[in-house]
């Protein structure tokens, strides 16, 4: 019998460690406080074919939780099951199996929607309404007084930068402007949990920056944010934790730093050399961009390389550690899934 495994909660020990990438173990055994979003064995199958007799699994046995007050990024390639999961949580589609709770209430409980905000993927609103009218319309479904409603609508329009366009019908809005309206209606009622499906989609760099700021502001206010994205740099920048879903299955969950091996895999030197140093052996392996050279090498060879460069009169611009990124981790998972899928296809043939 080995040493008992501690899951991190004081006084809580287990005989077996959690299986790799299995959030279910933690969920069932840690006895943690209630999470903001708890998903248990959620699955979704879509029938297809002429008589709908064939079934395609869009989501398979998803178990995970999003803690109260955290920003959680849901990552995955197109068709991985991100939007399916979010639609299941919003009750826009119904699960084949499994359950989910938001703020401790079953997703079947419509009253729970008073405490959550949702931005659909590529949102589309009533195009005969103005931004002000559409926000006022959505605000009416929450228990707000007329004065409060009016004040919040005005504040939201200002927050998402649509104050000057509030009287224009949405049919004249660009995609990015519609995305801003979508974001405004999602946070209009000051929800506890905010679920955003591809919030950066269609936005210019300025718009993306504003969305990032809004997400960080929500986090500062103690709100829980779950958002799906393709943009891994956004996830790395904003998220306390991420979940990676590929082929309808959760392949990894944790803090970005935990998921990728943070140990440096080598060093990179960026430098400039004059013509006299043109025959440096180091240049053979370097990548040239204009007058600058970039070379990657093992950490053990760093100082010898720096000495050689110094002796040759090179100007060293930067020395950085090479660390794996979330993107590499993500790509590895996607490629592994594709390899597995093609192996199954070959064996099936």
């Amino acid at each position: 019998m080995g040493r008992p495994f501690s899951c991190g909660v004081t006084g809580c020990e287990h005989a077996e460690p959690p299986p790799v990438d299995d959030a279910r173990w933690l969920f069932k055994n840690m006895g943690m406080a209630q999470g903001a979003i708890e998903i248990e064995n959620l699955s979704k199958e879509y029938p297809y074919g002429f008589l709908h007799l064939k079934k395609k699994k869009s989501l398979e046995d998803l178990t995970m939780r999003v803690e109260d007050g955290e920003v959680f990024g849901f990552l995955g390639p197109n068709g991985a099951g991100k939007s399916t999961t979010i639609k299941l949580l919003m009750r826009l589609i119904f699960p084949t199996a499994g359950t989910a709770r938001i703020l401790g209430k079953s997703i079947d409980d419509v009253s729970m929607h008073g405490s959550i905000g949702y931005l659909p993927e590529q949102p589309y609103f009533y195009d005969y309404l103005t931004a002000h009218e559409v926000l006022d319309y959505f605000a009416r479904f929450h228990n707000l007084t007329a004065g409060d409603r009016s004040a919040r609508v005005a504040a939201m329009l200002k927050k998402v930068g649509l104050d000057t366009a509030k009287k224009i019908q949405l049919r004249k809005y660009s995609k990015g402007m519609l995305q801003r309206v979508g974001l405004a209606q999602a946070i209009l009622h000051d929800p506890q949990v905010v679920v955003l499906d591809e919030p950066m989609s269609g936005l210019d760099p300025l718009g993306r920056r504003e969305v990032r700021d809004i997400i960080l502001e929500l986090k500062r206010d103690g709100r829980t944010v779950l958002f799906s994205t393709h943009v891994l740099s956004d996830a790395e920048m904003l998220c306390d934790r991420v979940g990676v879903i590929v082929g309808g299955k959760l392949r990894g969950i944790g803090a970005p730093g935990e998921l990728v091996d943070m140990k440096a895999q080598g060093m990179e030197i960026l430098f400039e050399v004059s013509g006299a140093a043109g025959n440096l052996p180091l240049l053979a392996n370097a990548t040239r961009t204009g007058e600058r050279y970039r070379v990657q090498l093992p950490e053990t060879e760093l100082y010898a390389a720096l000495d050689a460069l110094k002796a040759a009169g090179a100007r060293i611009l930067s020395v950085t550690q090479i660390k794996p990124t979330l993107e590499e981790y993500f790509m590895n998972l996607v490629e592994a899934d594709r390899a597995q899928a093609s192996a199954v296809e070959v064996s099936g043939k």
Partner: protein, 258 residues
């Protein structure tokens, strides 16, 4: 009921902004043309022709709006995905359906009332006076409105589980079948076995009997409409609409949005 009211008010606003009420221009032109024409070609029956033409136009225009907009009420929201943000609010699916239903009925009421006013203006233009029996035109218009509410409910039901094109076909088919419901009960002169006759009679009671709402013959000729008929038709429409909407709510409550 506040959610139902909010959805209904928005559905009405949508109809107004999408220029649905522009059909009134067509109706106005039709009635003006008719008023000028009947004065020249019919002697002594101008009133009958105007009333007949006006009520038929109110009914036909209303049916087109009820079927096409009724089907679009839900299918358009699903196609354009405007429903996603709404259903993520504390709104029950049946509240959304009921709101949409009342929104379109409100639109049809305004539309029908405006057309009825146009009909009265045409009558006054032709005769330079209104008769006491002309008050029954309002009763006929009221019954047309009940019929339209029933058509909207059917369109809503069909659009909850099939494509817009099929929903339009089904609703139009139900309307035509409903017009013939009375005939199914009184089939004579055809050799059918008793089982088939029973089946036909059963089906006739399930179909919405749209002929119940047709009092045009009596109103055109200035005859009254019994109050009992109006009450019966009102009750019939309420019960039938309630059953159809309940069915639509059940279907829609489990509908996966795309």
């Amino acid at each position: 009921m506040r959610n139902v009211q909010t959805v209904a008010a928005n559905a009405f606003r949508e109809a107004v902004r999408d220029r649905v009420l522009y059909n009134l221009v067509f109706f106005a032109l039709l009635m003006m043309g008719a008023a000028i024409l009947v004065g020249q070609i019919s002697i002594g029956i101008e009133r009958d022709v105007i009333v007949s033409l006006g009520l038929t136009a109110i009914s036909v225009i209303g049916i087109f709006i009820a079927i096409f907009l009724g089907v679009a009420l839900v299918s358009k929201e699903m196609d354009k995905r405007t429903l996603y943000a709404l259903l993520a609010k504390p709104v029950k699916r049946w509240e959304f359906l009921l709101g949409k239903f009342f929104g379109l009925v409100m639109t049809l009421t305004v539309n029908t009332a405006a057309m009825a006013a146009g009909l009265y203006i045409s009558l006054w233009t032709v005769n330079r006076a209104l008769l006491q029996s002309d008050v029954y035109i309002l009763v006929a218009v009221y019954l047309i409105l009940l019929k339209l509410a029933l058509i909207v409910a059917l369109a809503l039901l069909f659009s909850c589980f099939t494509t817009p094109f099929l929903a339009i076909l089904f609703t139009a088919g139900m309307y035509v079948a409903g017009l013939l419901a009375g005939d199914l009960r009184t089939v004579h002169g055809v050799e059918l076995d008793p089982g088939t006759l029973k089946l036909m009679r059963g089906i006739s009671y399930l179909l919405p009997n749209f002929e119940n709402f047709n009092v045009m013959g009596a109103v055109v000729h200035g005859r009254g409409v019994p109050a009992a008929l109006v009450w019966q038709d009102t009750l019939y429409a309420i019960v039938y609409v309630a059953i159809v909407l309940a069915g639509a709510a059940v279907v829609f409550s489990r509908r996966n949005l795309k």
